[in-house]
């Protein structure tokens, strides 16, 4: 792959990435959240189309214009979330899309022959007639590998293959990869687990901000270098200065021993005027923590105190009533009703403030919405505009406006600036500072390391659903946070 460029509206996800994979090689691809690894792989697999750049396979320039084309070129993709049909059998999944046929009928015997050939060659046993949903994660992964091999894949891309495996399963996977390497199959191996790279990778390429930073032979890449290359940029200068937290500031949010799906024994507290950042890898459980506090998931156990008062979180409604505002990470799926107007979205969570009896007072709705539009600089022709027609940054401001009209004291921000441009980002940071000045407490989840480091008084690193480390603003460095998040010995 050479000079691959891919832009999304407002974002340049890939900006000239180049790298190559040799026959029988495992080439690891590492980088921070959002560095562009997944986008790059999806381009290779034909899920996205590159805006510029070339892909050369066996010396021939390839035009990958869809998943079928990628398959025909011998590229197999194994995503972190597998692509199996849960209700179909292992056999049906393996031959899915290229079922052998006799005339118009499926040729079951031929399918069995094909699958058994591949599986015996690998020396793995899978129950062919069992439904895919009843397999363990490791077995499902084997099905995915078999699926790629039945399609004669010569290059297999694996995204976080060990994320959900036990140590023994990882050993088995690695020996399988070795076996396939010996047969000439090449691998692109994406992983956050830096400690396993020396065991499996031949070469390592680091990607940052959509660009290739460096490619080295794995043996010449100590972990410290790797981390330095991954984060190696100065903190962006566009973060505003955070006002110090008064030492006697009251604790507004205190969470003790919180248990919820994906959250284990989490305790944390945030003071008035303080921003606490939750750092960690995607899937580490950061979002789950704020969802439990906001009542989006109902916590199984644990205590939540707001300004010293115990509150029982049973639903989003009870969290809002207690004074918690939750700005969700996915504004389109969770934050906004896209078909409704700016006005209707702005007042949705606090409609009781705008109604007498049950009748909504539109004039008051409109005046408060116009106030939010002016104060947050929401670029919309007027309050009646459908939010679907606004840009991402302006949609995000509508989400903020929706929570600002309440009298919440604790704000939970989940990826507050994802997918929005730099200008809108700065405006949102300024707004967060205004909230602090008003005496609010902020708990922020962010996958952008500079954002966490630049916009938090304290940083909690989440790993496997637990708080793995805590840093003050002065202690935290990109390397120390990444090390704690990946579990590497820093």
């Amino acid at each position: 792959m050479k000079g691959i460029v891919k832009t999304f509206p407002g974002v340049r996800a890939l900006d000239g990435v180049s790298f190559d994979v040799r026959r029988g090689e495992v080439h690891a691809l590492v980088g921070e959240n959002g560095a562009g690894k997944s986008t790059l792989m999806k381009t290779l697999a034909g899920a996205y189309r590159a805006d510029a750049g070339t892909i050369v396979i066996d010396g021939v320039e390839a035009h990958i214009d869809g998943p079928r084309a990628a398959e025909a070129l011998g590229i197999g993709m194994i995503y972190q979330e597998f692509n199996l049909v849960p209700e179909l059998s292992v056999l049906d999944n393996i031959v899915l899309g290229q079922e052998p046929q006799r005339g118009l009928l499926l040729d079951h015997a031929a399918a069995v022959r094909e699958a058994t050939t591949v599986l015996t060659e690998l020396g793995i046993a899978l129950p062919l007639d069992r439904a895919a949903r009843r397999l363990s994660v490791a077995q499902q992964q084997l099905v995915e590998i078999a699926k790629a091999l039945v399609r004669h894949a010569r290059l297999i891309v694996m995204d976080e293959p060990t994320a959900a495996l036990t140590d023994r399963e990882i050993d088995a996977l690695f020996s399988l990869i070795e076996k396939l390497k010996a047969q000439g199959v090449a691998f692109v191996y994406i992983s956050h687990r830096l400690e396993e790279l020396p065991r499996i990778a031949d070469r390592i390429t680091v990607i940052r901000d959509g660009r290739t930073v460096e490619t080295r032979v794995a043996a010449d890449m100590p972990q410290a270098d790797l981390i330095r290359l991954m984060v190696g940029r100065p903190l962006d200068a566009h973060f505003p200065a955070l006002p110090p937290v008064a030492p006697d500031a009251p604790v507004l949010l205190n969470v003790a021993h919180l248990e919820s799906p994906g959250v284990h024994d989490v305790s944390l507290m945030v003071r008035a005027g303080e921003i606490v950042g939750l750092a960690g890898l995607v899937g580490a459980g950061r979002t789950e923590i704020v969802r439990a506090i906001a009542g989006a998931d109902v916590p199984q156990s644990g205590e939540v105190d707001l300004a010293g008062t115990r509150v029982v979180i049973r639903s989003p409604h009870s969290a809002i009533a207690a004074g918690i505002a939750f700005i969700t990470e996915d504004r389109k799926a969770q934050g906004l009703v896209l078909g409704m107007s700016v006005r209707e979205n702005t007042t949705l969570a606090h409609l009781d403030q705008f109604s007498r009896w049950f009748v909504v007072d539109r004039a008051r709705e409109e005046s408060i919405t116009n106030k939010e539009i002016t104060e947050l600089h929401i670029r919309t022709p007027n309050a009646e505009q459908t939010v679907r027609n606004l840009s991402g940054g302006n949609q995000q401001k509508v989400v903020l406006g929706k929570w600002l009209i309440g009298d919440a004291r604790v704000y939970l921000f989940d990826e507050p600036t994802r997918g929005i441009d730099v200008g809108a980002k700065a405006e949102i940071y300024t707004l967060m500072l205004e909230l602090l000045r008003g005496g609010a407490a902020i708990l922020m989840v962010s996958s952008e390391l500079p954002e966490v480091l630049g916009m938090s008084h304290r940083i909690l690193v989440v790993r496997d659903g637990r708080i793995a480390a805590e840093f003050s603003r002065d202690e935290a460095t990109p390397a120390s946070v990444i090390a704690a998040a990946t579990g590497a010995a820093a």
Partner: protein, 350 residues
Amino acid sequence: MAQPGGVKAELEASAVRARARSQRNQWLRVAAAVAALVVVVTVVNVFSHGAFLTPVNLTNVLRQITYNAILAIGQTFVIITAGIDLSVGSLIELTGVVMASFANAFPLDNGIGLVAVTLLVGLLVGCGAGLINALPVVKLNLPPFITTLAMMLMARGLAFKLAHGRPVPLNSNAFDAIGTGFLFEGFFKRFGLPGIPIVVLWMVVLVAIFAIVLTRTRFGRYVFAIGGNEEAARLAGINVALVKTMVYVISGGGAAVAGLLLMAKFSSGSPNTGIGSELQSIAAVVVGGTSLAGGRGSVIGTFFGALLIGVLNNVMNLLDIESYTQDIVLGAVILLAVIVDELRKRYLRA
């Protein structure tokens, strides 16, 4: 911001312009519909030798659409939340049979009092059935298609069982007025009109009330929000389960009112008056511009949907078109209506 006042004024002016534009669009649509109607009516009137445009016939059309329009009001609420209610046809029958049996067994017959108590009983049955429809939907996330289909079968079976397979004739004549009566007969007689049918009054009042509920109240706003994005509505603190339950309860209540009016019209509660009514009500909602995907729709639109279907039926009867052909035309009109609506949306978005 240099001139916050100026920005605010600009926003308000822009909102006024947007409202004017949306009103203009609405009037344009209405004008187009009226123009089309005038053309069709003229043509029909000529072919039916003047039978269509007579006061008596037009009053009849309104009377005929009443039951469907009332059912379709509740159906509109359900469909805006992206649900569906297949049970309303059977609930007309069940509530009708229950109400007729109750009225016959009730010891007092003091006219309006009996009607009121009977309606209350019918509402209890209809709303209760709505509640049963909703609970598996909101508690277990089951598809409303299935729960209301089950209720459709159960309610019809129960109605037949309670009525022993025959209509239950009403002993009292307290219901005659609301079934077949007219208001202001003396006044309208001078113009050769029969007066305002009381059933039509029920429809007009219910359409007006529920149009306001849908567009002007918190509950109505929540109905749209849930249909547009249920998760966002939940995270905004809306009690999604309660709102969804309410729409099925309203729909069941609407079936009870339609059941009362039909019982009054036939002087009996019959276990087979409602067959196919659920589909007629869905057709009225869809022709009226409400999206089956949820999040968009109106009660007024539904009223006009029911009116259009009613006019079509009436016209085809006047023209002596046989009933099989009528079904074909009706089906085609429904298909056409949704296709035009979809194309209009795409055109507007582009």
